[in-house]
Symmetry: C2
Subunit: 187 residues, 2 copies
């Protein structure tokens, strides 16, 4: 049974154990053995661990895993949780199979316009759209920064996106389940 | 001369070429051969490249480089540019020397409180501070998500932080120069 590292910011939720438990249950139902942040139920709770100990635990789990499935739903802003992004890059460099999913249906560029610049005028006069502060806006139709999407796609992975924004994007597992199903079929 | 991959969001600046040119000049002055996003001056401009081509160019540069020096100054939010975070994880997994610097003096947890929650009440009653939405706030005194700081520190790298927020955090190269100096001495 392949081991799957479930990367994502669920550890920060008020009901983290319930949501992560359900993610692990779903992973097993598709034939994967889950690991990743918060998945070592018999270990010390994260509140008692130093940053260094949490890092070591996660890095060891990444090195032992065959697959990464990362939740890149925007977290506290317009992009994925940075810890999750670190893990995507790390596992791609290790040569693992890496997929991602997001509960946000919009492109990164659309979120920069609608959320970060909140509807302010965008300069479209050159080949590259720019915000009122002159900063270029990625325009590649990707779910997040192109390094994430193109890095995953370069190794044959997929970024599975929601068709619509769910009521509870931090907890909705519809797109997660769909990604697991696709991963199981692609194996 | 060791090759240094200069990771950071400077490619998005209105004066990207000037800022990146100065970063390359400074890297050379400390004995490093710079590479990274936007550093192949004879290649097609980034506006003419697909996401896939930009990714390949950056991944090739990462694989050729000995060192990564990443600008993790918050970009469009409270955390580092996600493309840069991907590159940090990728190069640590490749076994390269990775350092980072930031022009923001505050801990990640301080930014979550002051910027994301904008002074709203934080629940400090348990061992783990939580925002009004119940989400836990990392409390490890790190510059960003612990995976970034602890990942760099686990391999002997350093995260060099500004002592005060500069007037132009997207362009100020004081902390960058300091990181280069420390890197050159540590070599």
């Amino acid at each position: 049974m392949p081991t799957i590292y479930l990367a994502g910011p669920e550890v920060f939720l008020s009901d983290a154990q319930a949501v992560m438990g359900e993610k692990r249950r779903l992973a097993r139902s598709f034939g994967f053995e889950p690991t990743g942040p918060g998945s070592d139920e018999n270990q010390a709770p994260v509140t008692l661990l130093t940053a260094e100990a949490i890092y070591r635990r996660n890095e060891n789990a990444m090195r032992r895993a065959d697959i990464c499935l990362a939740n890149i739903t925007p977290f506290r802003g317009i992009s994925a949780d940075p810890g999750t992004v670190y893990e995507i890059g790390f596992m791609i460099a290790l040569g693992r199979k890496v997929w991602a999913y997001t509960n946000h249906p919009d492109d990164y560029g659309t979120r920069v316009r609608s959320i970060w610049y909140a509807g302010l005028e965008i300069d479209e006069s050159s080949g590259r759209p720019r915000g009122p502060d002159g900063m270029a806006i990625e325009n590649h139709g990707k779910a997040d920064n192109l390094m994430i999407d193109a890095g995953i796609e370069a190794i044959g992975g997929r970024v599975v996106r929601a068709l619509a924004f769910p009521a509870d994007p931090a907890r909705d597992l519809t797109v997660y389940s769909d990604a697991l199903r696709q991963l199981a079929q692609a194996d």
